[in-house]
Symmetry: C2
Subunit: 263 residues, 2 copies
């Protein structure tokens, strides 16, 4: 199987201590897969568009909507790979229950992606806020040194807002989206300005994580791990500086490098 | 702040190579927080019940449902800490859009938790399938050695079903839930029996990951990282053997130890 077709090239600025070099890097594809059940849209999922039929069937079986392959008449994948049509006998109660409960589980961003790609107009972030790479490196270190619940359980994500005056606000949760919502909520409750700040997160930067930063006009988002290609695109389109793989004195700047200033 | 109140003790069997010892371990609390907006239920979130007011406000602002703290009249947290009531001026379009889009983002399990805790009756898993700990250790190693997209991008989760005859089926995705749905879907499409199998996953075992194993009658779930307390409880209640921190020849068995047999 050729998995490389799900990789997308990006040009990044790689910070290596005092040096910054432009290099080619690779990110993973992230796309919206639409699942139709007996002609009606059942759900969309942000995912790697790979094994789509198995994904749609497995999800519907996990939800008890389809109970056996014997109940499936046909599964058809569209030519562009972004739509699966399933004809099957379904459990109507479970199908209805899928949204009635309105429960977001850990790591879940719900309708976020819908909101930014749909009805909400989000202006391009033009803030002139800049920061030196050493400060980011120093804050990443503190971010991980001071994670109490993670140290104890190995089961939490963390988010931190670094404000212009050097103070920081932090939150922890089982879900990486929850951690962001909590830390932004704390700032708002205290009347703090997030338009000149850096958001540090412990999780990967998939599109909906990036969208949260965009929605709150945070100009810079930093993670010690990887972004998806859609995450990079979203940051690019909305004026967000996206930094991944921030470890020690190294980091990868994927978008809007101007805010990371050595002076 | 006393974060230790969010920790829950569990008694586990710790496998250390050839030796198994019973020890006390600690897991993180995971609970359902209900958010009410102007008297109506807006959403539930599986999370650590900590900073609940900030969490609810931050989420609703991330979704563009509330645009400023000035629009908020009051935020009240219930005595048990599991319900937040917000009175606020809201953007009705964004509120409606929250569920209309029906998009699950990476790492999102949607209505799963609703389904198992609600209308669906899932029998206790009584399968007599047993496996030796050495086989689990060997398969965990293979599981990580053979993760191509992860190696290339650092941005994917993986799931693998190990069948009774020693064959394995794998899937990768940006979302840990998606990876499980895909691998189970592959098994179902091939008519393979998952009632005598082990599900290996790269992510943490929060409740909705455990629920997926339960729904598909998989008897054993293994991760190299941590479960939540609710994950452990769910496994306990449904007859699932839950193994966390499977690394090298070590692993922690949290529930239904009988299936891990040294003979």
């Amino acid at each position: 199987m050729d998995n490389t077709k799900y990789l997308r090239k990006v040009i990044i600025d790689k910070v290596l201590g005092d040096e910054i070099v432009e290099v080619e890097d690779v990110t993973i594809e992230e796309a919206r897969l639409n699942v139709y059940l007996n002609g009606n849209k059942a759900i969309s999922m942000m995912c790697i568009p790979l094994d789509q039929e198995a994904h749609a069937l497995g999800f519907l079986m996990s939800e008890n909507i389809i109970s056996s392959l014997d109940d499936v008449e046909e599964i058809i994948l569209s030519e562009d790979g972004l739509r699966v049509d399933i004809k099957a006998a379904v459990d109507e109660d479970s199908l209805e229950n899928l949204y009635k409960e309105k429960t977001l589980v850990s790591g879940c961003g719900g309708g976020v992606t819908g909101n930014i790609s749909g009805s909400v107009e989000v202006p391009f972030n033009q803030t002139s806020f800049v920061i030196r790479p050493e400060i980011i490196s120093k804050e990443v270190k503190k971010f991980y040194d001071q994670s109490e619940l993670y140290t104890l359980t190995g089961c939490v994500h963390k988010a931190m807002i670094y404000l212009e005056d050097g103070t920081t606000i932090t939150s922890e949760d089982i879900g990486r989206h929850n951690a962001i919502d909590k830390v932004v909520g704390k700032c708002k409750l205290q009347g703090l300005d997030t338009t000149k700040s850096v958001l540090f997160v412990s999780g990967r930067l998939s599109s909906e994580m990036v969208v949260k930063a965009v929605m709150h006009r945070v100009p810079i988002i930093v993670s010690r791990t990887a972004p998806t290609f859609l995450g990079v695109q979203t940051a690019h389109n909305h004026g967000l500086t996206l930094i991944g793989f921030a470890r020690g004195k190294k980091m990868n700047i994927y978008t809007h490098q101007g805010r990371i200033n050595e002076k």
